[in-house]
Amino acid sequence: MTDRPTDAVPLPSRGSLRKLQGLLIPVLAVFSAFVIGGLIIVLTDGELIGLWFTDPLAAIGGSWSAVMDAYGALLRGSIGDPGRIIGALVSLDLNELRGAAGPLSETIVSTTPLIFTGLSVALAFRAGLFNIGAEGQLYFGSLAAIIAGFAITGLPWFIHLPIAVLAGFVGGALWGFIPGILKARTGAHEVIVTIMLNFVAYRFVDWALRTEFVQREGRPDPISKVIQPTAELAPLFDGLRAHWGIAIAIIAAIVISWLLFRSTLGFELRAVGLNPRAARYAGMSISWSIVTSMMIAGGLAGLAGASLMLGGSGTLTPGFSPGYGFDGITVALIGATRPGGVVAAAFLFGALRAGATPMQAATGTPIDIVVVIQALVIMFVAAPALVRAIYRIRVERTLGTEVFAKGWGS
């Protein structure tokens, strides 16, 4: 075990200028990704390609406007139309405000689970583990939360809701425990175990949705019973989909930040992640750290599931998660495994997700361009040398290597 996970971005040591430099790479990464995304949009537009041959000047103008249209629609779909927002604020009409805040609300809805899964993967990274299983843990958390939501009756919301949320955490923690204990006791590499457990989780939920206990009465399709109203996460404002789950998410980010950087447990986890041998020499138990970090990470992903269920439709169907668990990996990578960065990155991707559908509706650009942009951001963030090469930045090398490579054996 030679190289251990450190930040993929070279850590600035001191000073606000260095702090800015630390931010520079992610910002440039996002920018470059959008540029390449724009190129793809232009290059696959059949009409534009034809225009290049007949009237190149018009083609340049056309390309620029095509990209700006698409990204503009993306922005308006995720944050909102500035004109409309100002108009609503001025008029103070509730309906107007609701309409204008719609896109931002959608962004918040997408951001909430991403914060949880991003924290999940980031925490695991800090302990030296790849939690690819966030999706499966999310599924289990959702199942647990849904069952707690519909099976428990007669409790007031301030007891029922926390129980349901806690159930989500426990469900996910359970699914995180398995790869944790396997890695600790047998050295089984968590990437393969978690990927396999993801598949097992999908099938398990498929099965559960067909059992009498979970399936909604009278429905032949796999759909769960609806949760009791006392287990619902209330919306932030009436009529908007954004719900209080975002508050729980931000609190979770603060808690995890405190846990990682200000508590003994967090110190142990980070020590094990940075240098397991040194940690063991200092008396820390590597096995225990691995299991604990995977359980907390699993629990966080489970909370993502709980927020999806309790704040959203209140019912579970197969394939309800459009890969929030996997997006969590992207979020953690870009957030440079710092909880504050995770929230910011989650917001970015939440915005991308939320804005993609309106963008497709407005300009016809398929939503999948957002996935491509995401991939490009990962690449640029994971290979800062590439960004530096493109933009000719010179960064003083500080501590740590940029690499966290390890194979199946470590």
Partner: protein, 430 residues
């Protein structure tokens, strides 16, 4: 210091520990076999009434001889098989099987599976040959993925991007085959695409020393997004020209395909299956019996030593990864040209990851990967028949089995699967 003392073979404390561990594992395995035998009795023998028979149809298509149906008394067969397993358990517990333990494990697994089949077919008829033929077919993309993984990982580069390479291969083969009208050009395009993606992985992992797992995921996400984007933007409006490739149908090898039982299972497939057989043999011979293979494996185990001896570590890694990509690209073409025809988004369905699991399960070698892939294919083939048959277990649980088995193998509960020692570590030439 007396020089003339005859040295007795000293038993180092570590040797005793290893022996005790081995004996403990042996005993656990023995108990496990006994438990399996009990499960077989309770699950497969007891619930079936004494006079039910399981009928196995062994014919598929035209063969030299038409085999009679295999009719077995369900209950009795299960009891017999359980007894065999129990006996194996008793022997394992006491004496152990020495070096042959893996074979016995395979036999026990086989007995369990056969008893399961007998139980499934109780009172009904099951076309066994059909199940086996389907098993092979469904394992094709998985084994292609596993072979790709073997090539890359034996050189020391973890290749998570197999999924993306399969998907991209499927996409490009469909497009090129439709546009040019030739499935072979489509296959060539798929191989090229796999090579390009692998080249990207190699550059990121070897030159920029990006974490190989992250680089692999990036390629997967990129491939998923790009193929979906292009599928909507370019394929859907032009489906007739760009998404209707000609498919390669099954070719029955004359004579061989008429062998009863084996013929329909092995020799009535399309080009991809035969190519797979050839690749398995070629890669196995190449890796373990040629100088090239020795160099690749040296780089994967101890790149520093290989470098000292004069092997160009970077070149070996680049070339192995690109070759792995080509194999994965070819496997991707199977989804379209070898199977359903048109490209659909996400059609690889996670088989790249399953291929990786098969590679680990198979011990990082082509033949092991093939058998491991068959296990996954078998579960897949069975569960698709479950809807027709009347079975007590929900099909979802059967689908879980290959994944759970992989976890068990990876956890070293069944033998220690050992990766090449330098797998995943970037090499820095000093």
């Amino acid at each position: 210091m007396t020089a003339a003392t005859a040295t007795e073979p000293t038993r180092l404390p570590t040797m005793a520990l290893a022996e005790r561990k081995a004996r403990r594992r042996q005993r656990i395995l023995g108990i496990f076999y006994l438990v399996i035998a009990i499960v077989m009795v309770i699950g497969f023998a007891l619930p079936v009434s004494g006079d039910t028979n399981s009928t196995f149809n062994l014919n598929l298509g035209v063969t030299v001889i038409t085999l009679p149906e295999l009719v077995l008394p369900s209950s009795a067969t299960s009891y017999l098989l359980a007894a065999v397993v129990a006996f194996a358990g008793a022997v394992q517990l006491t004496r152990g099987f020495g070096t042959k333990w893996a074979i016995i494990l395979a036999l026990v697994a086989g007995a369990f599976v056969f008893a399961f089949l007998v139980w499934v077919a109780a009172g009904q008829s099951l076309n066994l040959t059909g199940v086996f033929q389907s098993t092979l077919q469904r394992s094709v993309p998985i084994v292609f993925g596993a072979l790709s993984g073997v090539l890359c990982e034996r050189a020391g580069v973890v290749n998570i991007a197999i999924e993306g390479m399969l998907l991209s291969g499927a996409f490009m083969s469909a497009v090129v085959a439709s546009a040019t009208g030739s499935p072979w050009l489509g296959i060539g395009a798929a191989i090229l695409t796999g090579a390009v993606l692998a080249g990207l992985l190699a550059v990121l992992a070897i030159r920029y020393r990006v974490d190989q797992i992250i680089a692999g995921f990036f390629i997967n996400i990129l491939a998923t997004g790009l193929t979906a984007f292009l599928s909507v933007r370019v394929l859907q409006p032009n489906a007739a020209e760009l998404n209707t490739p000609e498919r390669l149908g099954p070719i029955a090898i004359p004579l061989l395909s008429e062998i009863p039982l084996l013929g329909p299972i092995l020799f009535r497939h399309n080009f991809f299956v035969y190519a797979l057989f050839a690749l398995i043999i070629m890669i196995h011979l190449g890796l373990f019996y040629t100088r090239w293979g020795l160099r690749v494996r040296a780089v994967g185990e101890h790149p520093k030593a290989a470098d000292t001896v004069g092997i160009n570590v970077y070149w070996v890694r680049y070339s192995s990864v690109v070759m792995g990509g080509m194999v994965a690209g070819l496997g991707g073409a199977y989804f379209t040209i070898g199977s359903t025809g048109a490209f659909e988004r996400d059609m690889s369905g996670g088989r790249g990851y399953i291929g990786l699991a098969a590679m680990i399960f198979g011990g990082w070698n082509p033949i092991g990967s093939f058998f491991a892939g068959l296990v996954f294919g078998f579960a897949d083939a069975l569960q698709s028949r479950f809807s027709i048959l009347n079975v007590g277990i929900p099909s979802e649980f059967l689908l879980m089995v290959p994944y759970i088995v992989t976890i068990i193998v990876v956890a070293g509960l069944v033998g220690r699967a050992r990766a090449p020692a330098a797998d995943g570590k970037p090499y820095l030439k000093e």
